[in-house]
């Protein structure tokens, strides 16, 4: 149980999830139409919903991922990522049940089918995201480090 409260473990999980969402979101921002095409392949959404999802979701992924990497608004970013993962798992499950042989559109340029393997992987990521949400305080982070360096006590000690 002590391991669960280890701040370095928190940092590792946060960097993993944050980095993964940055890696997933940035190429989608570069190729929005490609992401829209992936959403269309699910054959579940209207033109309007495809447009809204393709325009906003990559930015949500990138900003939430960036927040986790930097260690700011950690719980909120983890909550957003958890909600996104719940949606991704649901979509992949619907596609797998319908027998669709499509790319999940999770990572641009990386072929990853919307199948049961993707669902299990996303559930594992969801577990990591909940872990961050409940336990991580963002104590070890670049922002915390900058704050520590700039804190008056430190400055006094240096002078």
């Amino acid at each position: 149980m002590k391991l669960l409260h280890n701040e370095y473990l928190h940092l590792a999980v946060r960097l993993l999830i944050g980095g993964l969402f940055l890696y997933a979101g940035l190429p989608k921002i570069m190729d929005t139409m490609g992401f829209a095409s992936s959403i269309y392949n699910y054959k579940l959404f209207s033109s309007l919903l495809i447009g809204l999802t393709a325009a906003f979701i990559p930015w949500v992924e990138v900003l939430a991922g960036l927040a986790l990497v930097l260690g700011v608004k950690v719980r909120s970013a983890a909550l957003i990522i958890s909600l996104l993962l719940v949606v991704f798992v649901s979509l992949a499950a619907i596609s797998a049940i319908r027998g669709l042989d499509i790319d999940c559109g999770c990572f641009s340029g990386v072929e990853r089918k919307a199948n049961w393997l993707a669902i299990y992987e996303d559930i594992a990521l969801l577990g990591c995201s909940f872990f961050i949400f409940y336990l991580d305080q963002g104590i070890i982070s670049p922002i915390a480090l900058i704050k520590k360096i700039n804190s008056p006590s430190k400055k006094d000690a240096i002078s």
Partner: protein, 196 residues
């Protein structure tokens, strides 16, 4: 009277190890979530306004289908140079004149659930594995053949055309729009339990 802990008033506390720890507060979490989502909406809206307008106008799906067809043609140039694509109108004319044989490259269950009326099931995987004796199924190597699959990013229609070409068939076209495009155009189809 018991002292009220300071956490109610101040969400940031010092732990015994003299480290700053935030206190769980749904109000703060929801507020921060709103900031992240709001910023995403602002950036996404400003940078993708054309996509959003296309989505509202209902033009986005047609644009996506066009993009997928272009991508498939680019893929065909690499995978099967010299491949020929045929559009829906031309393929329908050949269909009406009974000049072409339509070949469904999808799996047998997919074919059984819905296919172009009169099309023959020729799953690419079964063909590659050697489970189909092609000479018996398609004896005329000069026959006009049109291969198709699920449209969009589906490329097994292209793979089937390539496979047939390598086996000596020389009059093959690919219907890039696939079964969904044919069905959307209102052309004859056959579904499990019904005929249209």
């Amino acid at each position: 009277m018991m002292d009220i802990p300071d956490i109610v008033a101040n969400p940031i506390l010092k732990s015994p190890r003299n480290q700053t720890r935030t206190v769980f507060s749904w109000t703060i979490i929801i507020k921060d979530c709103s900031w992240i989502v709001g910023l995403a909406i602002l950036l996404g809206g400003v940078l993708n306004y054309t996509l959003l307008f296309d989505g509202i106008d209902g033009k986005l799906i047609a644009a996506i289908q066009q993009k997928q067809l272009t991508d498939l043609r680019q893929k065909a140039e690499q995978l099967y140079p010299g491949s020929s694509f045929i559009n829906l109108v031309s393929s329908k004319k050949l269909y009406d004149d009974k000049l072409a044989l339509f070949l469904d490259a999808r799996t047998a269950p997919e074919y059984q659930s819905a296919h172009i009326y009169g099309a023959m099931s020729l799953p690419i995987r079964t063909l590659v594995q050697g489970d189909i004796q092609l000479d018996k199924v398609l004896p005329d190597k000069g026959a006009l053949l049109i291969t198709y699959c699920d449209g969009g990013e589906c490329d097994i229609g292209l793979e089937l055309a390539k496979e047939l070409s390598e086996r000596g068939y020389n009059n093959i076209f690919i219907l890039g729009e696939g079964y969904p495009g044919w069905e959307a155009a209102g052309y004859p189809i056959e579904k499990a339990g019904m005929r249209q």
